[in-house]
Amino acid sequence: MTLFPDTPAFSTASMLRRDQWLIRLRWFAALGLFLGVVLLKTIKLGPPTSIFWMGVAVGVLILLNLVYLIFASDKMRLEMPKLVILLNVQMVMDLLVLTLLVYLTGSEESPLTFFYVFHIILASIIFPGGFSYLYSMLVIILYSSLLLMEHSIYVDHICFFHEIHLADDIRIVIAIWFIVVVTMTVSAYLAQSVTERHRRVREKLEIANQKLQEINQTKTTFFRYASHEMKSPVATVQSTLMVIDDVLGEKIDDRVKDMVRRAISRTKEMIEMLKDLADLTYGNFQERQKFEELDLNAFLAELVSDAQPNIDRKNQIISYQAPEMPCKYFGDSNALNKIFVNLISNAIRYTQDQGEIKVVLKQNSRGYLVVVSDNGSGIPDSEQVNIFKEFYRTPSARKQISEGTGLGLAIVMRMVELHDGSIQVESREGYGSKFTITLPIEENL
């Protein structure tokens, strides 16, 4: 376990800021203690030797803080491990001084024991997770040792309040009241500073997240317009070329005609690409506006029968297996169409003639499972992580079939995500592929 995670929250800069904050707090603590000592002396509360040594303790605290201040200055440029050591030294010294003050003010009688709480809160603000427990353990050890030493013969107990009933002396009541007030106020301040910090971080995160979403939206809009703007001229180019090939074909020689046909097939490729790019931006725009109730069973049955001409062309077999009842689903029919048309046509393309393609619809407690499998060429293990990436085509796919945008499965993924679903692929090279789509229906219908 790394005690100090390598995150911005524990960077050198932020640790240094915390160090400087701790030093500022200590000035206030020293000032408060100093005033307390002066007050005790004025109202003649407590044994004079105790008051004297309390004054010395406060003096030591102030001197130490001056030393810390030098180390925390920007000139020192303390780096991470040293900064952490310095912070821990400060915290431990503070606890030792506090324990001394607790001893001087009557140990278990002393209301100053409350002040231990601050140090544990401080430790949790300054250090990562486990440290506040370490410090609470240190506090327990220091306090227990103090009590143990008093009850053994080594240290005499200081009877700060002179064997009187605390409530009888108004000065003592006020002193304890004051300590409680200070404890409450400081706790409130520390707790507030923790939550405030937390809130600020959350706000920053939310703003950053919003910006990212805006940027993503801009990107999507750009893609959408770019692909749209490019489609019209390409479509016109293709229409024109087809007129040359089809209508004016008799007037041109075969070589020209051949070139025109090549040009037509390339424009077709480009149009496919532009369509796919537009599809990739689809979900971002409509979100769930186009969701409607549909029968997934009938929907898939229709897609399978639509695929029949392509299946026949390769002498393949396609089968569809589903429960014999309507399967109500709330989804975007256009997006679902993209998912399954892409998967089925991929299966047809990458499966040899006479191959077999299966589409299975199953219902379980969480929703629907649609499995599209084939006994085609399969996808090597090493390629399976890549196939959902935009523009990625496996080398063997490229070799088998030259056309293809490499966007099909990226579109499938996008459309599945639009339905809060998931997609899994199982495949063995040479034995076939199996794509499993999960479409959840919780809160769907």
Binding site: S232, V234, A235, T236, T267, D279
Partner: protein, 128 residues
């Protein structure tokens, strides 16, 4: 008598490609660059069929033109074939049967326009 086809589309090059195709198939072709001019030509020249682009100055200008044609009693029976953009963004295929209630057109033709299909669709929808 030669049948007259009006093409309403702001893409001049596409209009020319379709003109060549349709003229080769024995149709007379007239054209208009936007919906307004298109409506005027329908009233003046009473074409036997209108090829109407969906997207001209606005995303759905074609639809508005189609509605206007259907609202004018003198021209409301003119067959309309709507030219739709490539995969029209979403890849959704218009189905005249399904969408006839809210789309006042007789048929659809997707860009890029296949010459054979163009002639087929025009022949099917024109009132001979």
């Amino acid at each position: 008598m030669t049948k007259k086809v009006l093409i309403i589309d702001d893409d001049f090059d596409l209009v020319e490609a379709m003109r060549i195709t349709l003229e080769a198939a024995g149709f007379e072709v007239i054209d208009a660059q936007d919906g307004e001019k298109g409506l005027e030509k329908i009233r003046e020249d009473s074409p036997d069929l209108v090829l109407l682009d969906v997207m001209m100055t606005s995303m759905d200008e074609g639809f508005h033109v189609a509605y206007k044609i259907r609202e004018e009693s003198a021209i409301k029976d003119t067959p309309i074939v709507m030219l739709t953009a490539v995969g029209n963004q979403t890849g959704f295929q218009f189905d005249p049967g399904k969408d006839a209630d809210f789309l006042p057109v007789d048929d659809f033709l997707e860009k890029p326009v296949n010459p054979k299909k163009l002639v087929d669709v025009v022949r099917q929808n024109i009132k001979l």
